[in-house]
Symmetry: C2
Subunit: 454 residues, 2 copies
């Protein structure tokens, strides 16, 4: 197919904020809000500490906020570091068709830019929607072959999304938007081999930073190919064994991928969410206590055991890959947030004891967002819950109230309750903001007293 990249660019350049359907605007606010909470929550993770300590000696002017940290840095490094923060808990949004986490690369880039160049809430949301559209459509065009090869699609597709969103805010013309996509695409990278290491969250961070720099370079006339997506030696041929360019160019402006975005209620791989959901439901309805439970049986989709079959996790990060640990904390704490995946939590004797009484059976008739939970009480009573669609799925989305509760849990421990109140309020009202940088500044919270911050 010819002119795939140019067709995409033409659409991006001509798209009007006023043409966004109401439902799409609403979902964009929810996606951005969820991202912001994750970024503030993840900002004090050692992954961010180490990246910042390595890069700060070479960083530029204090132009943009490091969310949750009360210090400032140049916009390119802010895009990188906020992108890392937002993905480090694996708690951000998911475009289920491609397993892309769409907000990270795009929001990290344009929020940083908004502190360098004034952007209204309406323009920001529009650019955000378009950036998500670009990365998800490119993902649709090559998924699953591209992912199966071993590419971390959030990084590889995300860099295009960041460039498109920044390019829209910069007002690039069609040629420069095309170059921006090209400069972004020729930096597309990130291996799935890195999962379980700090490089996993580095991928969306670098995608944000590289996409931002791609659009800035294009703005100054830095040239690239006009056919990065479709050329025989371009993205879709080089980085995938299969491709469908119709996914990129068909129905532009008619359907929006952000409408298919989902948000995680639990801080772990999405395949364990049904089991956690079922356990929490039974716990809350019956006031369960771990000591009264004989055993827990789960009927799960086969992928659950393949991806999260770790029987005896030793560290918090490993707990995220254990359906047994996850079911245990769901019953004991009624939650599966970051605290339930701490090192202390996986070593808690009560959790370990209950975890050892959990069994899971793969059943190919169970869908990915489905589970059957059976809890055998010592009393002989058997409690059963069949979850058809887990909370957080497209069929049972998190409500705005759920998202706000998640946000507060993530942010309060980092920036405190008053700053969290203010941030919730300003982020919820993004559509009417004259200057989006207000959100970034509110997201800084108080300074952490980092001695070498300045």
């Amino acid at each position: 197919m010819n002119e795939v990249t140019k067709t995409f660019s033409r659409y991006l350049v001509n798209a009007k904020a006023g043409d966004l359907p109401e439902a799409v605007r609403k979902e964009a606010v929810r996606s951005f809000f969820n991202w912001l909470g994750c970024a503030v929550g993840g900002s004090v993770h050692e992954t961010v500490d180490r990246a910042l300590s390595a890069l700060r000696p070479f960083a530029g002017p204090q132009q943009a906020t490091l969310l949750g940290r009360g210090e400032r840095i140049d916009i390119l490094n802010a895009a990188l570091l906020n992108g890392i923060s937002s993905h480090v808990f694996d708690f951000d949004d998911t475009h289920l068709k491609t397993i892309i986490h769409p907000a990270g690369p795009v929001a990290s880039a344009i929020l940083a830019l908004s502190e360098y160049r004034k952007v209204s809430g309406a323009d920001f949301l529009h650019a955000f929607v378009l950036g998500v559209e670009v990365e998800c459509r490119i993902g649709n065009a090559v998924y699953p072959a591209h992912y199966d090869i071993g590419w971390h699609i959030t990084g590889t597709a995300g860099v295009f999304g960041a460039a498109a969103a920044v390019g829209k805010i910069l007002g690039l013309d069609e040629q420069k938007m095309t170059w921006a996509l090209g400069i972004a695409g020729t930096q597309s990278s990130g291996f799935r081999e890195m999962f379980g290491t700090m490089c996993k969250s580095f991928h969306p961070g670098r995608a944000a930073q590289n996409g931002l720099s791609a659009a800035l370079l294009a703005q100054k006339g830095f040239t690239s190919s006009d056919r990065v997506l479709e050329a025989p030696r371009g993205f879709a041929h080089v980085m995938s064994t299969e491709r469908d360019f119709g996914e990129i160019v068909d129905g532009l402006g008619e359907r929006f991928e952000i409408a298919l975005n989902t948000y995680k209620p639990f801080a772990c791989g999405i395949v364990i969410h049904p089991a956690i959901d079922g356990c929490i439901q039974l716990r809350n309805e019956h006031g369960l206590k771990a000591g009264d439970i004989e055993k827990i049986e789960l009927d799960v989709h086969p992928l659950v055991l393949e991806l999260t079959g770790k029987k005896t996790p030793q560290r918090g990060l490993e707990g995220k890959f254990s359906v047994y640990h996850s079911a245990a904390v769901a019953v004991i704490h009624g939650a599966a947030g970051e605290e339930e995946y701490s090192d202390a939590s996986v070593r808690d004797p009560d959790v370990v004891s209950l975890r050892d009484r959990v069994t899971a059976t793969a059943n190919p008739d169970i869908r990915e967002d489905e589970v059957v939970v059976r809890i055998m009480m010592k009393s002989g009573q058997v409690l059963t819950r069949h979850v058809e669609h887990a909370i957080g799925s497209l069929e049972r989305p998190m409500s705005d109230a759920d998202l706000e509760q998640k946000f507060r849990r993530l942010a309060t421990g980092v920036i405190g309750a008053p700053a969290t109140d203010r941030l919730v309020s300003v982020a919820r009202g993004i559509e009417s903001l004259a200057d989006v940088s207000e959100i970034a500044r509110a997201g800084a919270g108080h300074a952490r007293g980092d001695a070498d911050a300045e």
Copy 2:
């Protein structure tokens, strides 16, 4: 094969500068010297101007020299911009086995670092040799399949070389060297689709910058996979259809890839060099004039048409990908330097007219450094030249005097003759320098009077 990456890291960490053979040290000086001339010569190209104007507002402290420009910038941006400068003329070194241009990613990274952390000439050259070893061995392991897919191997392999060289200078231990290679590898990128655009020289620049930051991140404990090269979802499987890990781990410390490095006499892709060489030989021997020529026929290696088959280049950069333009300027000007690849040159009516009378035929029996040139004169005379090995090949290498002449042609127009004299002298003596940053400072030349430089 297991432990490919760790075996490589162990070798890099334990290698001693004193163990380098004399011939390897000598070739390292030649490689670095050739790179330096190219970087100074390319520093005023608009590709560098545009990149610098886009990125300077976000850059860090004035830590390192932009060669040829008399202004300073943070070391990460210096690595990027000097890397672009050094490749923008396509005039740098070539490892013929892989078509990698080895010096760009490696030298750009460690010369910038040498202005932040004192490095002796001996240690610098050792790190340079090791960085080149890393990128070329990784290249050997996946070439030609990796290149055939569409990857620009100088960028994809170069990022590993930069990380390894920087890691050696930083004194990383085996674990951190392994992480550095992993963080570098997961940024490996660059499409051949970008050839003929500013992104081509962006690739080695970004490889230098990303490799440098990978080693800096690893130094601070930023983790990656320990198996970036060999894992099923790592570099060699994801980015190539074939691989031979023996090329990476066999004979480490016994043979050195830099001994196979070559230098270009002409400012274009090396596959056209035999044709240019043959045309210049016939021109000089027969005092040829374009107007007396009926047509020119070339029997060339098939890659010549695949890579440089552009019939009607419109811009200087495109001329480098046109065997037709190259043969025409070789006959008309007896040279193929930067001037012959200017926009003016590709539009010169005399050049265009002769170019249109050049035909090239792919012949699988012709080697890559071989050509048969037949020039049919209007008089009916036919002049033939069979070049067995083009000038600049391993069999007919450029002499030290040739390299110095090339260096002076590149540098004098940018920094003037006195500064060039001084730079030649200090670079030639790199082995005995206590502090390599002396070369970087000498390479600054005089300030260009760029108004917004400071």
